[in-house]
């Protein structure tokens, strides 16, 4: 799934101020050649294996399969170092940044997962790291702030706008405008101007690459009937979908955060409610007013609390190549607790959205269903606690 001239159909592009053009253009000219080089691939693959702990298991969940009368496999991204898929991307980008001669890394973070993964990669690579985080999120996610600081990163509060993820992203982009030469910006999802969505998708595509090999080994067929993943910006989802797009066999199911319900006004269901527009340099669907002001979303899961969606997902949804559904906060919590009790795995609230969809569709008895378990739920204990 490669973009053409930076666009997936009509979505994507690089709608950026001229001040960012040199930075983004440098990346665009260099990224593919660097990623394709043998030297990069060797270092990246070795780190994914020895440092991140890949391949992550593809676990056949006997209990869930019996309950839902189908065959359910969990892709265990929660077992990665730092506890989520985010590290696949930050390791890739830090190696790229080093090859571009950059000395400093900036990143945005919402719940802090991408911030921690970035701080981790920077510690490993010996790079200076500044993470922008909304003032509101800093208070909500204090343990992750401490983790980042322990890892040697500087956490900079974003105090503009609604003081959450979208504002942290704005602040990071502004910082990049102010420091165009020595700084690389590690975006945490398949969002932002081209080439970010493509670059991040390539780094996350290791998820579906492994699923193929593992399924082949386990059942003799590399293509599942369904892949289910949660989607905020959409990096774990595109990673899980990547090698199954257009194979004519696999249903790609992206689960958005419905919040209190798609019609409640408190939701992050971008595809369900969004209109085409521009956010953070990319043309996609986004939640906005008639006047084009970006609306603050709501989800119980901080990682899905984003008013836009990666342009590749906008394209998959718009072209009918993928299916986009939503589940509510309550359904996600229930699914998270259910998996904890039935399998002894506490999923991140984000991943719990993907699991909640199992209640919504009746899959065939012989169907192969892969759910991408994007992260672990330790960070969400305070939220879970209110419901048990």
């Amino acid at each position: 799934m490669q973009p053409t001239n930076g666009f997936y159909g009509e979505f994507g592009g690089a709608f950026i101020p001229e001040m960012l053009y040199p930075n983004v253009n440098e990346l665009e000219n260099e990224y593919q050649e660097i990623i394709n080089s043998e030297d990069f691939q060797d270092e990246f693959r070795n780190l994914l294996r020895d440092y991140v702990g890949r391949p992550t298991p593809l676990y056949f969940s006997k209990n869930l399969s019996e309950i839902y009368q189908t065959n359910i496999f969990l892709k265990r991204e929660d077992l990665n170092h730092t506890g989520a898929h985010k590290i696949n991307n930050t390791i890739g980008q830090i190696l790229l940044a080093k090859r571009l001669g950059k000395q400093r890394i900036i990143a945005e973070t919402g719940a802090g997962q991408h911030g921690v993964a970035t701080a981790t990669a920077c510690a490993l690579a010996g790079m200076k790291c500044s993470v922008f985080m909304g003032e509101v999120d800093i208070q909500r996610q204090a343990p992750n702030v401490k983790r980042m600081e322990l890892l040697g990163a500087e956490v900079i509060p974003a105090t503009s706008g609604s003081k959450t993820l979208k504002d942290a992203t704005n602040e990071a982009i502004r910082e990049w405008i102010n420091n165009p030469v020595d700084t690389h910006y590690i975006i945490g999802s398949v969002v932002g101007p081209h080439p970010y969505p493509d670059m991040v998708a390539q780094f996350q595509s290791v998820i579906s690459e492994e699923i193929k090999v593992q399924l082949k080994e386990l059942i003799g067929n590399e293509n599942p009937d369904h892949v289910i993943a949660c989607v905020g910006g959409g990096s774990n989802a595109i990673g899980a979908f990547y090698h199954f797009i257009d194979n004519g066999q696999t249903n790609l199911i992206a689960v958005e955060a419905g919040g209190l319900g798609v019609d409640s006004g408190k939701t992050a269901a971008t595809i369900a409610l969004g209109k085409k527009g521009i956010i953070h340099g990319s043309k996609t669907f986004l939640m906005q007013t008639n006047d084009g002001q970006i609306v603050e979303p709501h989800s119980i899961s901080a990682g899905l609390d984003y008013p836009g969606i990666g342009p590749v997902h906008a394209y998959l949804a718009d072209s009918g190549k993928g299916k986009v559904v939503s589940v509510t906060d309550e359904e996600a919590i229930k699914a998270g607790i259910f998996l904890s009790r039935k399998e002894g795995i506490i999923p991140a609230l984000e991943s719990a959205h993907a699991l909640a969809y199992l209640e919504k569709e009746k899959f065939g008895k012989d169907d192969i269903v892969v759910v991408n378990l994007s992260g672990r739920g330790d960070k969400d204990l305070a939220t879970y606690q209110k419901y048990i």
Partner: protein, 268 residues
């Protein structure tokens, strides 16, 4: 029709452009601010369309935009406020905003409205050169709307030539690698301003971002036709005085110094 072209052809001395955010400090201040700026001898006015996520702007302009949105400002309302402006002033008017606002309003409808109320040009920092050229240039030209593109210190010579060829009205020289309102030392930018001057562009050059007083205005306009002040002007509006007093005081603080130098026969 084209007030911009006329301004650059006929103006003696340096051009002072002032940016303000529509809907700030009060929702219906737009016309009053325009007329006061005109009365005080400002040459060109940029009207900011408030946006929730203004990537290229610093804290002062962003906060004014947020206040304007809280006041109830919309692009729809802005065009209503500007409906009769041309019966009151002929000062060149440029709209500055982010492309999402235009997309939601409807690109052609936006151009139509601009032509209707007498807007001379637009500055849309996140509408990139190539995309504008391929998708919207013909439309903008059909409605006689100048599109003013940005150049910054990192922009390559080859790209500056392209931008100059596609821009009309003027080109906007971003003073340093910065967002709006950051008061970096402009004397460090002499090499950049000189380099651009030597390129002998087709379009006049206006410097913006970080111009905040008479001294920085003077510095920015040594090698260019004029400069744009935004954040510093908006900051001055937060004073408790009346709008008339604040605007007069601010413009004098820039122009006054200019006139004193002029009387002393000093070239700016």
């Amino acid at each position: 029709m084209n007030q911009l072209k006329e301004l650059f052809e006929n103006k003696e001395g340096k051009i002072l452009s002032i940016y303000f955010t529509a809907g700030f400090p009060e929702l219906n201040d737009t016309e009053k601010i325009i007329l006061e700026l005109d009365r005080n001898g400002v040459d060109l006015i940029e009207i900011g369309i408030p946006f929730s996520d203004p990537l290229a702007d610093g804290p002062i302009i962003q906060a004014s935009g947020q206040q304007a949105l809280d006041n109830g400002m919309t692009l729809e309302l802005l065009f209503q406020q500007l409906k009769n402006i041309r019966s009151k002033t002929q000062i060149p008017l440029v709209l500055m905003g982010y492309f999402n606002s235009i997309m939601q309003f409807g690109e052609e409808r936006f151009c139509q409205k601009c032509a209707e109320v007498g807007i001379d040009g637009v500055i849309l920092p996140d509408l990139p050169l190539e995309f504008y050229q391929d998708t919207y240039k013909a439309l903008f030209e059909q409605y006689g709307l100048n599109n003013i593109l940005l150049i910054n210190p990192q922009t390559s010579e080859e790209r500056i030539r392209k931008i100059d060829a596609v821009s009309s009205g003027f080109v906007y020289l971003v003073s340093s690698n910065s967002i709006t309102g950051s008061n970096k030392d402009l004397s460090l930018q002499n090499e950049y301003f000189e380099r651009i001057k030597k390129m002998e562009l087709n379009n006049p050059k206006m410097v913006g971002f970080g111009i905040h007083d008479a001294k920085s205005f003077d510095h920015a306009t040594k090698q260019t036709e004029g400069a744009i002040i935004g954040s510093a002007f908006i900051k001055s509006l937060s004073d408790r005085a009346t709008l008339e007093t604040k605007i007069e005081k601010f413009v004098k603080s820039i122009q006054g110094a200019k006139n004193i130098l002029k009387e002393a026969n000093l070239e700016l």
